[in-house]
Symmetry: C2
Subunit: 262 residues, 2 copies
């Protein structure tokens, strides 16, 4: 049983190490050590990445970054929740989470994914906000994807900083005294925040680039074949028909407004 | 407990329906029915999408398409495995799967994600291949992401057809008498196949576009803010330094070659 999270690169590298005899037979092949020696050492000593899960999270907000950050060799990427066990995504699919607030008191990178109603509600969850503030004292980077920035904002950690969130969620984030930017992702010191859902992957490739450099990032992008080709140029509130943007805004409002206090 | 998978659009739409009184107060807002009436009816009667999971699957191969196809209103998107229970991704994280081969004998869309070693091994798993062939007789679209095409190829369903897979996996797919194309995704009749990992999302937005049309697809792209901006232009074997491509190929080889029979 493999309980420990092993990135693909480590996994394949392990195989490379296991079968040194066949490798030795083929002269042009590089050993694992030779391959890895061709990259600069990591710029930051990242050893673990914790992704905060909670019932109602948006699947891809968590799983995109999970996949991208798992490309960092020697780094454990895992999920953390208030309590261990099955945490359900927005549509009820359970993810088995084996770390919780009680056994996780430090992280090198913390990532907070977004969602809709449950994310909004978490802005007032003291246990979650306290844990985030505690973990933040230990992180190299504290990050959020999409409306996860609402929770990070509520923790007070983004006060006076530049940040971003899902296009719908900007006013809610602004209320935390945040300078909300219209960018795919924003870095302000140790705080990285991304726009909606899929922007989390772009942000995480940028983090990978910062930590391991461009050649390593290209290797990871090649592994995940990340050379996107959307069928339509769209996906931003600026390149989408205004009536569609308003329609979507009304749909979100109908989920969020009943939760808002007067 | 929400066992039924409800796409975000349905979820938010449900809220819209629940609070008709406040909506009636604000004149410019559209009702849910008005919003949805502005889209053409689906071109195909898609009611359910099954994503095949197996131990060792690549997380994003499954979760990217899961998120994108969940945008189809009124469609249930779920995971299916040979046996119900926790299915572990490539790094050991468990996903709770509540459907299996015994209770799933038809699907409108079948999607097969990829992986590395376990995906390679599944090419000889008779129970899986039999189930895929049976399900394929009922599908509107049979699809694969990344090396999931190896399994689809092994089932014989791609024989004589155009298809694609992860850049590393093309020779393995070609062995099934498939015309392997160098494209982000390929459609040949009812068969859709994508290149590696992240290409699955582009393919699924293209499927969404085919089923629901461009305006609806733009709405979904806006929801997921899918306007990608990678930090580096890379991710394809054609735009990545040759030495990095070779390095990656050797890493994959070291996982796969020990599994190959003479």
């Amino acid at each position: 049983m493999r309980k420990i999270l092993i990135p693909l690169l480590v996994l394949t590298a392990l195989f490379a190490c296991q079968k040194q005899a066949p490798q030795a037979q083929s002269a042009p092949e590089m050993s694992h050590a030779e391959m890895m020696g061709s990259f600069p050492a990591p710029k930051y000593p990242i050893k673990n990445v914790g992704i905060l899960l909670y019932d109602g999270f948006t699947t891809l907000d968590a799983m995109g970054p999970y996949q991208v950050l798992s490309e960092m060799m020697g780094v454990k990427v895992f999920f953390v929740a208030k309590q261990k066990g099955l945490i359900k995504n927005m549509t009820g699919v359970g993810i088995q989470v084996e770390r919780d607030f009680s056994d996780t008191d430090s992280l090198d990178i913390l990532l907070i994914p977004g969602g809709l109603k449950e994310t909004y509600t978490l802005q007032e969850d003291t246990a979650t906000l306290d844990w985030i503030r505690k973990i933040d004292q230990t992180t190299t980077f504290t990050t959020s994807v999409c409306t996860g920035a609402w929770i990070l904002g509520a923790s007070g950690l983004l006060k006076g900083k530049n940040a971003t969130t899902h296009w719908y969620g900007k006013d809610i984030l602004r209320a935390y005294d945040v300078a909300v930017k219209d960018e795919r992702w924003v870095r302000d010191g140790k705080y990285w925040t991304s726009a909606g859902v899929t922007a989390g992957m772009d942000m995480c490739f940028a983090i990978l680039n910062e930590v391991r450099g461009e050649a390593y990032t290209k290797l990871a992008m090649l592994d995940l074949e990340y050379d996107p080709a959307p069928p339509i140029k769209a996906g931003s509130e600026h390149n989408t028909d205004k009536n569609l943007v308003e329609m979507m805004r009304q749909m979100y409002d109908s989920g969020i407004k009943p939760l808002m206090k007067k």
